[in-house]
Symmetry: C2
Subunit: 353 residues, 2 copies
Amino acid sequence: MDSFDPTFHPHRRFNPLTDDFVLVSPHRTKRPWLGQTETPEAAKLPKYDEKCYLCPGNARASGQRNPQYTKTFSFDNDFAALLSAPAPLAPTPVHPLIMPQLSTKDIEAIIEEWIRIYEARGSQTGIRYVQIFENKGSTMGGSNPHPHGQIWSQSAVPSIPAKELKSLKRYAHINYESASATKAPEGRPCLLCEYAHVEVNQPRDEGRVVVLNDHWVALVPWWAIWPFEILLLPYRRHIDSISDLDAPEKQAFADILSRITRRYDNLFSCSFAYSMGIHQRPIPKKQVDATGDDDDNYAHLHLHFEPPLLRSASVRKFLVGFELMAEPQRDLTPEQAAMKLRQCSEVHYLEGT
Amino acid sequence: MDSFDPTFHPHRRFNPLTDDFVLVSPHRTKRPWLGQTETPEAAKLPKYDEKCYLCPGNARASGQRNPQYTKTFSFDNDFAALLSAPAPLAPTPVHPLIMPQLSTKDIEAIIEEWIRIYEARGSQTGIRYVQIFENKGSTMGGSNPHPHGQIWSQSAVPSIPAKELKSLKRYAHINYESASATKAPEGRPCLLCEYAHVEVNQPRDEGRVVVLNDHWVALVPWWAIWPFEILLLPYRRHIDSISDLDAPEKQAFADILSRITRRYDNLFSCSFAYSMGIHQRPIPKKQVDATGDDDDNYAHLHLHFEPPLLRSASVRKFLVGFELMAEPQRDLTPEQAAMKLRQCSEVHYLEGT
Ligand SMILES: O=P(O)(O)O[C@H]1O[C@H](CO)[C@@H](O)[C@H](O)[C@H]1O
Ligand SMILES: O=P(O)(O)O[C@H]1O[C@H](CO)[C@@H](O)[C@H](O)[C@H]1O
């Protein structure tokens, strides 16, 4: 057998955040595709659609009428999955713009709205977790093409963030010399601070970083499952939630969100579908555990972008059969994906048209 | 607040096999859908398609030509995700029939082929797990509409079956009076024997059983994620792998596969897409662990069917945003799904046409 070549030979990679594995099979990108193709999603949406229940002035499913909003607009989900704590659909950027088309000032307004809702929900009795997320594009199950995010709040920490918090805590208690200067509480090493530090300062290969600014790094993680998955996190200091961001960190957050989403749209010249979610400290911010060593204390703010497109605007990756029954499998390597995203422009392909 | 009604109020259910939760929000089934719709999949396929690389006599991507096969045909995957142990695409029922259109005799031939490959692969050096699965339909990522299953073999037990084996082992060591007469080795209770026993003999509500025959039960599990998910397992005795099935158990296996897949196709009068996978004992069958108490010893043979369709032949459930970031969420309850499947006929809707 030839010597091991990660761009050709299948191998497994460990995900320390979820304690799972992903199978990488780079040579699979070449197989023929007679399967489902997606209709490429247009970034140009109609300015106003009278049938859209999220457009300004229109009636929603509940019969309630939206105001003639011109800024980010939040409202209660008419079909909330969680009833007793109605979850607001938020924040809705002004129709018909998607995030890569917004100014960083407008993105900052969305960030402020996330913070406001995270804190408001978090101060309600019985709420333990406030999940902010967005399904962009019909390929990713968006039930309405009008750009909108969602926030669902729950009385328990949901399975996935709960698992991540356990991994972060376990890592903090491993006894070793940490490389990163940034630390979790009590000077303990933080898995995500450490990981960002290595990717930014000590990459051992061509690297997985896509965009870097003063406070944030966007990278295709070593253990990425989705073809162009991105992990976005602050890397200068340990930050547990969006509530803890200072003004420059918020500006840098808006800057990097804009740059990531433009690269995404430019990759295949389409409105790039994804699911995005924010993982952070459960809320309310208090020690629930008698020992004071609750899992919550190890949270490090980060965002996951999970986009399905693989080869073109119309051929996606399906996480099905083997992935549902055995373990996730990916085709191109995370390094190859990062390289392609690094080569994309940060000027949106529709700009000026 | 009204008293708790599981067909209306959101609630979480625990999955003891994977140690995860699912959020059930039954009232969500009523929300409007402006999202992606699927092209209903036809159960009638062309008898022969000259462009299909899986049809008899045609050339595959590798250049190799398929024989003029008339029975189940197995061959090596030209784009195997796992290279050193090439995985056969198997077994391919005679074109153009999908499983619900096959006779139980033909399904028995497929079962024999699964057993043959499971044992042959399992005796190869370095193989630890033989994952048999099928992606049916383009909605579920099938890259070719020609009906075909797949078998991927790996040198490690993949994440999901590994997690299930850990749960089965943990359960076997809980000290309590078990209800079921069937037992795992050494007289220990088996989570799946026990669960099947309760669902078949002591249901506490309208029940989740869809089809029952002399040896197998097909049910929508309490913790189902996919709308019409089915767990299929032998319930009369503890059986660790398809190698251990006797003749009547194999016949009953073919019978129930036929009955499940006919009900599936009849539900929305289309070729019902799904991912199916067999979970069983890792292979080779030997005690790898010095204590003799390896996780392998707790395997109980079972199959998962994970179909995406939710409301009709064209509206599916998307496991996206919240599901990817927080935890799986489902709309209709497992009991409602089981009821709908029980109401379906076992005569295929195309029979006689
Ligand atoms: O093997 P196929 O049909 O080419 O491909 C399909 O099944 C594989 C195994 O579940 C997946 O990894 C692919 O994403 C899917 O498109
Ligand atoms: O909330 P929407 O856009 O109606 O629905 C979408 O997002 C939800 C949350 O991720 C999913 O549960 C749905 O399956 C999906 O279609």
